[in-house]
């Protein structure tokens, strides 16, 4: 029997084309995510989700401890933002995650909100 010729992670780079992970989709049909939409896993334990792509599993694992922004998921898992959005849309459909969209664009930031951020920055 021939041994499979695996490359190790560093040599291999990204073997799977990003949109193969999403079944060719570049955007999700139902859900809209922004770069700073926060995602948290609904379940704190590793549930049996054999049907999920490894990348979707990785998102669930990453978002188990705290809410993580879409951009942060993409940066940590080294995936394009649009791929993360599609996968998160699927996870939301499957009710495996909870999401928090940023304040709506029509809703301008209040003086109070801005001052709370200023206080936080001063205390860094």
């Amino acid at each position: 029997m021939r041994e499979p010729r695996w490359l190790d992670d560093e040599q291999a780079g990204r073997h799977v084309r990003p949109y193969a992970i999403t079944g060719g989709r570049t955007r999700h049909s139902r859900h809209h995510f922004t770069l700073i939409t926060l995602v948290v896993s609904r379940f704190t334990h590793e549930s049996e989700q054999d049907h999920l792509e490894p990348e979707a599993m990785a998102i669930l694992a990453l978002c188990r401890e705290r809410a993580v922004a879409v951009a942060e998921i993409a940066g940590t898992l080294d995936l394009p933002v649009s791929v993360v959005k599609v996968l998160c849309g699927d996870l939301l459909n499957a009710e495996l995650i909870i999401v928090q969209a940023p304040p709506a664009l029509t809703e301008q930031p209040s003086v109070d909100l801005i001052e709370r951020v200023m206080d936080g920055i001063r205390q860094l």
Partner: protein, 198 residues
């Protein structure tokens, strides 16, 4: 029946952009205030008919990958601020709507030796009414120009803050962020005053 929600309350996420020319210190600034090491995120964007000659009505579409780095500051359990350093060389980041819309405000980092590299960002934020402050990054403590000279050279509105800074220093980067937030607060107060006059 009593329904008990076990779902955690998620914080609200906000963002501030850090723009400016290539090599002006955007990544350094993200790193000096972020609680995590700066991460890089990329996205493919479609650049329809950007900078191409008109070929008799043929719609030219191409796509380009835009990468930017970002950091995170947890303000409180309810508020998380993300900092996005825009790609320096790439003029196409302006087309990445998801990056630019909904920002609390922006920093335009400038280098006095290459002030022209900040024009595009300034025009962009002015045209979109996004509050911003100009941070003049003084490497090695060199102060080759005063804030007032930079203001004149960039033809800035008197209300736009200009801060001399060294973004390698956390305290200095904080001053720049606070200047942005002051501009944002002034805009929010002006909006309140305007609505009160109706």
């Amino acid at each position: 029946m009593v329904s008990v929600s076990s779902e955690p309350l998620l914080p609200t996420a906000l963002k501030i952009l850090i723009a400016g020319g290539f090599g002006v210190g955007k990544t350094t600034m993200v790193g000096s205030v972020s609680e995590v090491a700066p991460l890089e995120t990329e996205e493919r964007i479609t650049t329809a008919s950007v900078g191409v000659d008109d070929l008799a009505g043929i719609e030219k579409k191409s796509s380009t990958t835009v990468a930017m780095d970002f950091g995170r500051i947890t303000i409180s359990p309810e508020l998380v601020l993300y900092l996005f350093g825009t790609p320096g060389q790439d003029r196409f980041w302006f087309m990445w709507d998801d990056l630019s819309t909904g920002a609390l405000g922006a920093v335009v980092l400038a280098d006095t030796r290459r002030l022209d590299a900040s024009f595009a960002s300034i025009d962009f934020f002015e045209s979109r009414d996004i509050p911003f402050a100009v941070g003049v990054n003084c490497f090695d403590g060199r102060r080759e120009a005063t804030a007032e000279q930079v203001r004149q050279a960039l033809d800035l509105d008197p209300s736009t803050p200009v801060v001399l800074c060294d973004v390698r220093e956390r305290q200095s980067s904080k001053t720049v962020l606070l200047a942005v937030l002051e501009a944002a607060r002034a805009q929010a107060e002006a909006r309140l005053a305007a609505s009160g006059q109706l």
